[in-house]
């Protein structure tokens, strides 16, 4: 059996990554100017299916506590904030995204990447995750920002679609949000501008969905988990802007070139897997290497659809701006879909992206993703016969990452996959296993 190369550390550093750094840097500068010089007003929102188009239309500054928590984890700066939150009463067992953010929020809000402004509006787009409601409720207790709960009914109908009452309810609420934003910004909504922004989102989403289809190629031009996260930041922070669009045009071009050259993120693509669950931000690099050394690359991930699910045909429609924002929030993101819809999403990935296996990364913080993943494993192994690996750590809290344990599990899994592959190849060649 072929031995895995020790410590393959390949990652792609192309134009896309540089552009991303540059643009996100500028975004964080804007956030910092808002905090330090009072330039503009900050609107807090969640990532999952959000109405950023409205916020952009009023030139307000979108701030995402989730992105801040994520950055804190990546910069290995989260733990002291988590501990600070635990000191004032948050539990070991609460989502650590919230704890890192609250710990930071209650201090001077200075982070290694930006100074975070106080919110003028805390717009809780409650899309799927119940913790969102707690999180923003808590922030509202800690400051004077106005709180608006934008309630998005969960997909619960057997049809898998929102009901008409759901859509009406969300559109009516979006109209109310517009009134709040008008009051906050002191200007009337410019509908033509909103339509332009929604058109930008529409184009951006389409580019993103084309980029996602490219991972159907063998080899895949990029890793749909570890490299997708690079593209997710502009998708969320810059959607609806010219910058955001430019980023995705560049990314698509670059990825298409790679497909043409037959280039991928690893020297050799030996296994293609679908991955479910958020990444362990504090140890992303280490985690990636555990797969890379086996020549294993992610060809699709559910995590990259948290903010929106574009690859199955959704597009914002500038002619129906509010309705299409509502549809995005209700239906076209993984968080607001029920658990069984997620099974089907993964199943499509496995089939249409020709993957060999499913990896479930179960994170303690995020029960929205993780609660019940044992049943998911049961479905894929028993009903569909898909080799499935379930491993545990955390999205934010570095205390829950055990490299040795993960390594053992991942090595054992790919060793057995390799063995099965060999048996199949021998059989196909007419030999004996």
């Amino acid at each position: 059996m072929a031995k895995p190369a020790e410590a393959v550390k390949t990652s792609y550093q192309g134009q896309m990554h540089l552009l991303q750094k540059d643009m996100m840097g500028r975004y964080f500068e804007r956030v910092t100017r808002c905090a330090e010089q009072g330039e503009g007003k900050a609107v807090y929102m969640l990532i999952s299916g959000n109405p950023v188009e409205l916020v952009q239309a009023f030139d307000l500054v979108p701030v995402y506590p989730e992105i801040d928590a994520l950055q804190l984890a990546v910069k290995k700066a989260a733990l002291p904030f988590i501990q600070k939150a635990e000191e004032i009463g948050y539990s070991m067992d609460n989502c650590a995204y919230v704890k890192a953010d609250v710990g930071m929020f209650l201090g001077d809000r200075k982070t290694p990447f930006a100074t975070i402004p106080l919110p003028s509006l805390i717009l809780c787009n409650y899309v799927g995750c119940n913790v969102y409601l707690q999180w923003f409720e808590h922030l509202a207790e800690y400051c004077d920002g106005e709180l608006y709960n934008l309630d998005i009914p969960f997909l619960r109908d057997p049809s898998g679609k929102p009901t008409k009452a759901d859509v009406d309810y969300v559109v009516r609420q979006l109209e109310e949000v517009i009134e709040v934003l008008e009051r906050l910004s002191g200007k009337k909504l410019d509908w033509a501008k909103l339509k332009r922004i929604v058109a930008l989102s529409s184009e951006t989403g389409e580019l993103w969905s084309k980029i996602k289809a490219l991972t159907k190629n063998v080899p895949t031009p990029y890793d749909a988990y570890f490299d997708s996260v690079t593209m997710m930041a502009p998708l969320y922070c810059l959607r609806g802007t010219e910058d955001g669009l430019k980023f995705f045009q560049t990314a698509l071009k670059e990825m298409e070139e790679k497909v043409q050259m037959g280039a991928g993120p690893l020297p050799e693509e030996r296994f293609r897997f679908v991955i479910e669950g958020p990444p362990p931000w504090p140890y992303l690099r280490t985690f990636r290497d555990l797969f890379s050394k086996w020549g294993a690359v992610a060809v699709a991930s559910t995590y990259s659809t948290v903010g929106g699910l574009w690859e199955f045909g959704f597009k914002h429609d500038p002619n129906r701006p509010l309705e299409s924002i509502a549809e995005h929030m209700l239906e076209w993101n993984v968080t607001n879909r029920n658990f069984l819809q997620r099974y089907q999403q993964i199943r499509r990935y496995l089939e249409e992206w020709s993957a060999d296996a499913l990896v479930i990364h179960s994170v303690k913080s995020c029960r929205l993703f993780s609660a019940g993943q044992g049943d998911m494993r049961e479905y894929f192994t028993k009903e569909l016969n898909v080799p499935t690996l379930l491993i545990e750590s955390d999205i934010e809290d570095p205390r829950y990452f055990s490299e040795a344990q993960l390594k053992n599990r991942i090595d054992a899994f790919f060793e057995s996959l390799e063995h099965q592959k060999l048996v199949r190849q021998t059989k196909a060649a007419g030999g004996k296993a």
């Binding site: 004032i88 067992d93 119940n130 309810y169 303690k364 029960r367 019940g372 044992g374």
Partner: protein, 384 residues
């Protein structure tokens, strides 16, 4: 029957296997469909008005061994999610024809999906309760949500729900809730005459039977309790918060009070006591139920009302009842209860109200530690 033996009889049922009570009922009424309600609140009137029996599926207690469900839900998920799945996996819910889950937290929601996949014979429903309590449009949404649900119930029952039947169900449950409020009022006023465990037993038993039977029991019990005239013991008075979903074992509830306090109010089985006033029966009954949910239901960790801070409600409750302290009793791994605690703790400290924080699991067997903690807390308060 004397009040003591009445309560003892129901304690025995709850101690042994409460769900057998429902199974027996179903055996006697094979033609009637039974719909289980997961916590916290469910509009049971909609089920009742369709001629079906709504029952509380409130976990597996501490007599159930979890042998299968822990391979589906991880170690960091609360007990009630796992025990509720286990109950179905070991076929202890054969009497159910349907079950309804609610938008209370992410694990409970995913549990609904897991039920759907694993037990296709059951009707599995899910209610998304509104979380925007300030928009004038919310009422239309929630009314439509209840109507959607009714279609599902009508299908299961095989008959339509008429407005008159629904009004009648609302009246019955109003009466039941009114009697429960009377029970709680006695405790708040003269806790020496009714222990928390007793009131818990009398409430819980009602989740396992038709409401009219429960009403008869409550009436008999209230009459008995009103005869009591005990002398108050030297105990501190507290309000208990945090057990709105998963329920602590009876022994723990008993132990808490025995350790030296009177619990004047609590949030056990909160969903069955959801309204502090009657739901209007006249007019559009579906809309009334929705309206009551939005504008006159109790506060809770699973409802996010931006109009008033949750911690203010708790502090008001302490002041209104005249309690001296708060006992937070949160289910282990219960995300909403744990988050609430962070807010409660800061607000209680600010208001100078002492509190004790405890965690429990429905499956727990040993209560010494909790008891000692309460004793120490009580002592520190009595000799302060």
């Amino acid at each position: 029957m004397g009040i003591d033996s009445l309560i003892a009889r129901y304690r025995e049922i709850l101690d042994e296997s409460p769900l057998d009570q429902v199974a027996e009922w179903k055996a006697k009424h094979p033609g009637t469909k039974v719909v289980g309600c997961y916590p916290v609140y469910s509009p049971v009137e909609l089920i009742h008005a369709a001629g079906m029996l709504p029952v509380g599926i409130v976990g597996g207690g501490n007599r159930l061994e979890i042998a299968h469900a822990d391979s589906r839900f991880q170690s960091f998920v609360c007990s009630i999610v796992k025990s509720t799945l286990e109950l179905a996996m070991v076929d202890k819910l054969a009497f159910l024809d349907g079950i309804v889950f609610h938008s209370i937290c992410d694990p409970a929601r995913n549990l609904g999906s897991v039920y759907k996949r694993n037990f296709p014979r059951l009707m599995v429903e899910y209610i998304h309760f509104a979380q925007n309590l300030t928009s004038p449009h919310t009422i239309d949404y929630l009314t439509a949500e209840y109507r959607r649900l009714m279609t599902s119930y009508e299908q299961l029952a095989g008959k339509p729900i008429t407005d008159d039947a629904l009004r009648q169900s609302i009246r019955i449950y109003n009466e039941q809730r009114q009697l429960l409020r009377e029970l709680y009022a006695i405790r708040a006023e003269k806790p020496q005459n009714l222990s928390t465990l007793e009131s818990y037993i009398l409430t819980r038993i009602g989740t396992l039977m038709p409401p009219d039977e429960h009403i008869a029991i409550l009436k008999e019990a209230l009459a008995g309790i009103r005869q009591r005239d005990e002398r108050p013991k030297d105990r501190i008075k507290v309000v208990l918060e945090g057990s709105f979903c998963e329920q602590p074992p009876l022994e723990l509830i008993e132990g808490l009070e025995a350790a030296g306090c009177y619990i004047l109010d609590d949030d056990f089985l909160l969903g069955w006591r959801w309204f502090p006033a009657d739901v209007p029966a006249e007019g559009d009954p579906v809309r009334n139920l929705a309206e009551s949910y939005l504008h006159q239901s109790v506060y809770s960790g699973v409802k996010h009302d931006t109009r008033e801070r949750k911690s203010k409600h708790l502090i008001d409750k302490v002041k209104e009842t005249g309690a001296a302290a708060v006992l937070i009793l949160a289910a282990k791994f219960c995300e909403p209860a744990l988050f609430d605690y962070a807010l409660y703790r800061q607000a209680l400290e600010k208001a100078g109200i002492p509190h004790l924080y405890l965690e429990f699991e429905e499956k727990m067997w040993i209560f010494d530690k909790a008891r000692t903690e309460v004793e120490t807390f009580v002592e520190s308060m009595l000799f302060d």
